[in-house]
Symmetry: C2
DNA sequence: GAATAATGTAATGTATATCTTACATTATTC
DNA sequence: GAATAATGTAAGATATACATTACATTATTC
């Protein structure tokens, strides 16, 4: 499972801490999601999409190779 | 938070039990997700998309009215 | 290059997604 | 309409997303 959260976050000029605050989680949670170490909840994914102005499909996908 | 899982599942002619087996969870989990009583993990959402041949954006969205 | 901001990550605690088992209700089939 | 399939849901157990606190490392700014 992979994601584009980091790229999208930088594109809207947010730090991890700022994104975290906007979506209502801690900075650590954002960090772990960007690193692919968490399997985030749908609700959090949708909040992130809203904050970075992307769709679910643009941000998240299954990488069936790994 | 709302979803179209039930409609999409019926469209591909699967029962809750069949979809559950395909995505590797129990029937109860599918039932609760369709009812909107769970906030499923991204991984499970992606598995469901694959099974019912829909994209994340087609199946899941935030309903900001409720 | 020193100060500061941003990010990585570890330990421990909590909330909740999901499982297991079980039974009740509703829809479908003969 | 009786039998069966499909679905709803409840109780208790387990795994893990996420919080909290804290510190280390890396990037940025003056």
């Amino acid at each position: 499972m992979k994601n584009n959260v980091k790229v999208a976050r930088v594109q809207v000029d947010l730090t991890q801490a700022q994104l975290a605050e906007q979506v209502g989680v801690t900075r650590q949670t954002i960090s772990l999601i960007e690193k692919g170490k968490y399997n985030p909840s749908l609700k959090l994914c949708l909040e992130i999409c809203y904050a970075v102005q992307k769709t679910l499909d643009e941000l998240f996908w299954i990488d069936r190779e790994e």
